[in-house]
Amino acid sequence: MTRVTMTVNGKAVSGEVEGRTLLSQFLREGLGLTGTHIGCDTSQCGACVVHVNGQDVKSCTTFALECEGAEIRTIEGMANPDGSLSTIQQAFQDHHGLQCGFCTPGMVMTASALLAKSPTPSEAEIRHYLEGNICRCTGYHNIVKAILAASGQDVSHLGHGDAVAAE
């Protein structure tokens, strides 16, 4: 076992891990931060996306020890300091951007990374950026709408959650 130290959601944390301990495993089992979900565990689905030094990565395909000294942000660190939902989280709620909610942590983390790079993305850009995030409820339309809304763009022309068939 090796000691690993990192900053998670602004707090310094450390723990004993094996070489093979994944970042997702360390976050969930080591730190109890179970908001990061494990969907496929094969880096396909994106439910486990977190930010490592500001970059969106799949925590199921990153070793904890590779993150020594890194700044990690998970879904637990996304709300505003007063506990209210962040703009992106609120937009997911307002526009019904989640159904079962399993993929939502990864969707929010990926959306947040996109908006940091591209503050007003087009719909096509959003869909392309979500390529590595799978929603098994197939609720993509409202997820895209929520991200557009979170970026301050008008979504009134996109209608309500009746567009699933259009996927």
Binding site: G19, D41, S43, D56, T61, L65, E66
Partner: protein, 263 residues
């Protein structure tokens, strides 16, 4: 995953030393290796993490105008930093996997693995790139030696990949819709001394150059120039996603599209 020791060398020298031990393997971005370890298809005793070596990261232009990419540079960085110098290379890097994969996966890892459906081998072979390692320079023509096989020796680390910049180039990928890997991908690059055409995803032998198309395109750089050519299906991959004949056909179609896209 079987248990292993993960070491994080601070310098390239330390990495070379660590890789000199029995059953040690280099870890780039891990986007292929970690899934492989999870399936227990690899069982190294030690993984040597190259991600912390700043000297292996970044994109620069050398005195001859070639684009030089550090071996541990993630795809997303190549997509951003090579865009002004070699747009076709940047576009290829920016369309590998998905955004999170591109933030971790590295050029050195991709080339060393030489997956028969990976994109980067097509760019390296199609550009006549030089793969620079801790020991030597290897021409792309000598580097790729068949599916998952390269000229690299055990423990040999790719430090840099040097791409001469062509007059025009483009990459066309026909994606397998579930995995987004190239069912077939074709990289076409026009240099002053001729055209190179490199094909990934199609052959049992891994990435290869299509010599007949190169000759035809060197004489006339237009999609029409390859209209009369055809590729044998003998050595093509056949699987549930496509037959050998289908892949052979796709190679020609995508070569034409790449030539048109290169302009």
């Amino acid at each position: 995953m079987y248990a292993f020791e993960l070491v994080r060398p601070a310098t390239l020298d330390e990495a070379v030393t660590a890789l000199g031990t029995e059953e040690a393997q280099a870890l780039g971005g891990g986007q292929t290796l970690i899934p492989t370890l999870k399936q227990r298809l690899a069982a190294p005793a030690k993984l040597v993490c190259l991600g912390g070596l700043a000297e292996l990261k970044g994109v620069c232009i050398d005195d001859d105008g070639a684009v030089c990419v550090g071996g541990a540079t993630p795809h997303a960085v190549v997509a951003a930093e090579a865009a002004a110098h070699y747009p076709a290379l940047a576009a290829l890097a920016g369309n590998i996997g998905d955004p999170a994969v591109r933030n971790r996966g590295t050029i050195g890892g991709s080339l060393a693995n030489n997956d028969p459906s990976a994109c980067y081998p097509a760019a390296a072979l199609g550009s006549g790139a030089t793969i620079r390692t801790v020991n030597r320079d290897i021409a792309a023509d000598d580097f790729f030696q068949g599916m998952f096989t390269t000229a690299l020796e055990d423990g040999e680390i790719i430090t840099e990949v040097r791409f001469p910049v062509p007059e025009r180039a483009a990459y066309q990928k026909f994606e397998q819709p579930a995995s987004r890997f190239a069912l077939v991908g074709v990289f076409v690059a026009k240099y002053a001394d001729g055209v190179r055409v490199a094909v990934t995803g199609a052959s049992e032998g891994g990435v290869f150059r299509w010599a007949e198309a190169e000759a035809a395109l060197s004489a006339d750089f237009s999609a029409a120039a390859i209209a009369g050519l055809s590729l044998e299906a003998d050595m093509m991959i056949g699987d549930l996603h496509g037959s050998p004949e289908y892949r052979a056909h796709l190679v020609k179609v995508l070569t034409g599209r790449a030539v048109t896209a290169a302009g």
